[in-house]
Symmetry: C2
Subunit: 345 residues, 2 copies
DNA sequence: GATTAGCACTCGATGGCAAGGAGTGCTAAC
DNA sequence: GTTAGCACTCCTTGCCATCGAGTGCTAATC
């Protein structure tokens, strides 16, 4: 059976009503919303066809119809209108936010996720820039208490990472300051992946020989910047999950929650998003059974033309795709602009 | 009516069964659990008396009985046995954790809250030390990108706070380093509350005159260390709230969640806890209507004999008080010990 | 006099059943 | 091709009977 224009128009109305109400849509409802004066009976016939084509599903005989995942796919590809999904006021509000933003990378990502979450009323995620050539900009070791010091690392991508390390008691503040200086001088501009703390020149003072301190610093660098430990993904607005009408039981909610806490998985998901301009994965399309009933939408942001990170939204299959995609695009554009100032790769 | 020993013994059984099952307890259940061979009829008479005394409540005529909040009060004061609520294995596991712990203050608090949460299966909180004489130990300004720098503050209490500030473009890395040095020298050992950045001596170079930078640094210090913004309280294990059988509807859960997200209130709550060795607030005793149906238990930890911070648990009135209190005590003891090494006030 | 067996009673939970209604599919007329 | 009309489906709601856990009371027992 072919998909006539009218069928698609009806499908669009059904989907949009369903997005709004989260309940099965009946033929009379569609008939009323339909611009051309078509009777409910006609709509019924068409809807029956659409069901045969696998685009609509009836929960039971006498209920209305619900769009299938395939229908959402068509909606996203062909039917939805992105323009005007987000008002001009909102757009300029977002733009001006980024105009006056100041902060480090983590902060910027957090704000971006917050913005998206507020715009879409969904939990939002953001992936910190994944740069092949992240270089060390500065390394500073600050004494905290006797026996422990804080290593603060600033990268060329404006990320700040910190970690507490153990230092021998005989290493004083001055020594740490000297080490900081030396290391910064020695490794500044080098790719993080290439830094090999043990390859530093022969140290003069005995404390510089202390392999424990070196090991700790090296581990710190690795830990902080290389391992995909989920710390590269930022999540905001997870509480929106409480408001989904489709989350009827506490079990559902718990399930969603546990998925949403698995940062390593989310990070992987967000990293895959770098390949395309727009990724809309509806239900099974995610390929993983833990995402069967969820949709994930991600949009990368770019620095000097290359996708380095992404922003995204995760939620029920029934979501306002037009609005979500528009919101992500707007934030991504702003992020790309701001980021290009931060990073020169 | 007087509370005979037998009445109290029965009350204890009822409460402990209710803590375990979260369902009303019937006379037969008590009769079976009761060491002396008392028939259910006798228990019934006694339970009827206990109800008259306001210690038991019947949800409806033909249900069992549920302990009132007053009953939990008596249970906590007189009936419960703290010893053996936590096994020796667990205790030594906690002890050894603290033995090999390394990290800054925030980290230590987080771990402590995590531990408590794991032991009690409840959401747990920890209050970072509130010291009257928190002094500055070190202030370091690290350039992040052009126009922005990171202020890292280390206090005498081993807390690390950071904030990004805007700096004029003409201020370079070397300048920031100089400012850091100067400020650290000038303010080291001073109480945070007393630091007045504007009172610094006449600076030689023009950039040091830049009031914007000064203002930003001052604001940073204030923000980071003085405002009770809720950042002094650490929360872990909030997801345990999903498992409460008393949270039947999503609304309940949402309510609990929103309370638990209000860090400022929690911080206030945890600060009040410093006054007593053990605080058990059951329902209305909290004084605030938002905590009507919740219990909050807090135990302070001490440094050199003075209570400086606290750890606590928030949950439904029906909770295993003996276990929770024991767990808090154990963590508090360890925390006091470790903390005394960190802080010399 | 305290304890207990026995029994009637209460009341929520459960399940079946009928009424109501939203929505459909089909047919016949336009 | 469209639509009015109508029978049909099946979920929802409310009602009622049944069941059972648990109680309170009374009378018998220790």
């Amino acid at each position: 059976m072919e998909t006539t224009d009218r069928k698609l128009a009806i499908l669009k109305v059904v989907i949009e009503d369903y997005i709004e109400t989260a309940t099965p849509v009946g033929s009379r409802t569609v008939s009323k919303k339909f611009e051309d004066g078509l009777s409910s009976a006609t709509i019924r016939n068409e809807m029956s066809d659409l069901e045969e084509m696998g685009l609509l599903v009836q929960p039971h005989t006498s209920a209305g119809r619900v769009p299938s995942k395939a229908a959402f796919r068509i909606y996203v590809n062909e039917l939805m209108q992105e323009d005007e999904a987000v008002s001009d006021d909102e757009i300029s509000a977002v733009n001006s936010f980024y105009m006056c933003h100041i902060g480090d990378m983590e902060n910027l990502m957090k704000s971006s996720a917050s913005l998206i979450s507020a715009m879409t009323k969904q939990p939002a995620m953001a992936l910190v820039p994944q740069l092949r050539r992240t270089t060390l900009k500065r390394l500073q070791i600050i004494p905290v208490i006797k026996g422990a010091a804080l290593v603060v690392i600033v990268t060329s991508t404006a990320r700040v990472k910190q970690k507490v390390i153990r230092v021998p008691d005989n290493v004083g503040e001055h020594d740490l300051s000297a080490i900081s200086h030396m290391m910064t001088e020695r490794f500044r501009g080098q790719s993080i992946a290439d830094i090999d703390v043990s390859r530093i020149g022969t140290p003069q003072d005995s404390f510089l020989m202390d392999t424990d301190v070196y090991k700790a610093i090296e581990e710190c660098i690795t830990d902080a910047l290389l391992l995909p430990d989920g710390s590269d993904v930022v999540i905001e607005g997870a509480t929106h999950a409480f408001s989904y009408p489709e989350n009827e039981s506490i079990e559902d909610l718990k399930g969603f929650w546990s998925i949403f806490q698995d940062r390593v998985r989310l990070q992987r998901l967000m990293t895959e998003a770098l390949r395309h301009e727009l990724n809309v994965k509806i239900g099974e399309e995610n390929g993983e059974e833990w995402l069967q009933n969820l949709s994930v939408i991600t949009v990368p942001y770019k620095v000097h033309g290359r996708s380095v990170g992404s922003v995204g939204v995760m939620g029920p299959v029934r979501m306002d795709y037009a609005r979500v995609i528009s919101s992500l695009r707007i934030v991504s554009q702003n992020l790309s602009k701001v980021m290009s100032l931060y990073i020169n790769e």
